[in-house]
């Protein structure tokens, strides 16, 4: 699992690569927390290279989202693929988070 940070004027974009499972979720949470430290714009999680997510990853996302909310910030998602898209749908995450087809669409909406 790898997280790459890029910045846009309106948001921090984090591109997640690989897997967020029970083994890697703590590292994912830590990396996102570091990336968002001192930032005052919302987060776009670009999932175009995210191959797999389990419930441990969903839990991490809720924890990250709650921490950002305390600062008045939000998490947006872009480019969910195959299995990850399905997991978002059946867990109900698709209805509580804003999900965009592309990273550009997510940034335009802000």
């Amino acid at each position: 699992m790898e997280v790459i940070k890029t910045k846009d004027s309106k948001a921090v974009v984090a591109t997640v690569k690989g897997r967020i499972d029970t083994v890697t979720a703590p590292d994912f949470e830590k990396k996102i927390t570091e990336i968002m430290e001192g930032e005052n714009t919302s987060l776009v999680l670009d999932c175009s290279d995210l191959e797999y997510i389990s419930s441990a990853g969903l839990r991490s996302i809720l924890i990250i989202s709650k921490a950002l909310k305390l600062k008045g910030l939000f998490v947006y998602f872009s480019c969910l693929q195959g299995n990850v898209k399905e997991v978002f749908k059946i867990s109900g995450f698709g209805s509580i988070f804003k999900i965009f087809e592309t990273k550009e669409e997510a940034l335009q909406s802000l």
């Binding site: 419930s55 809720l62 867990s91 995450f93 209805s95």
Partner: protein, 140 residues
């Protein structure tokens, strides 16, 4: 290939990938699609992590994953000798309520219920036995 195989290892997180690789390799040789292989991997992770965290909460022990293929179905049995724990009986979380309060778990069983074709739990001979069934769909 043999249509039946199993693996037994200490029920610990550092063996998670070995269990998962075992089941997905078994299913891949049978020609299951990539999408179903991901579902198998995911359901197995959720089942095993429950065992690591709940069945063996206060003890340690082994977990056994058995794969059997018959009549177009992959039947995966996940077995442990820990405390009785029926994941199917756990209430599904309300994702909206989870955002509002501090409950953040419970998604694993939702994924298992929705991504398997059938799921059963039994407690037999002091063992938890969770059975996950995946139907092999042809020509889709």
């Amino acid at each position: 290939m043999e249509n039946k195989s199993n693996i037994e290892l200490p029920a610990r997180l550092d063996h998670l990938y070995k269990f998962m690789d075992f089941a997905t390799s078994f299913a891949a040789q049978l020609g299951f699609t990539d999408n179903i292989l991901k579902n198998i991997e995911l359901c197995l992770e959720e089942a095993l992590v429950n065992i690591f965290s709940y069945a063996y909460k206060n003890t340690t022990g082994k977990a056994r994953v058995g794969c059997l293929y018959e009549d177009g179905k992959l039947i995966i049995q996940v077995m442990d000798s820990g405390a009785p724990f029926n994941p199917i009986a756990v209430n599904s979380p309300d994702v909206h309520a989870n955002m509002a309060n501090n409950r953040i778990g419970g998604y694993g069983i939702v994924l298992i219920k929705k991504l398997t074709d059938e799921v059963r739990y039994a407690r037999e001979n002091d063992k938890n036995i969770l059975t996950l069934v995946f139907v092999k769909h042809n020509g889709l």
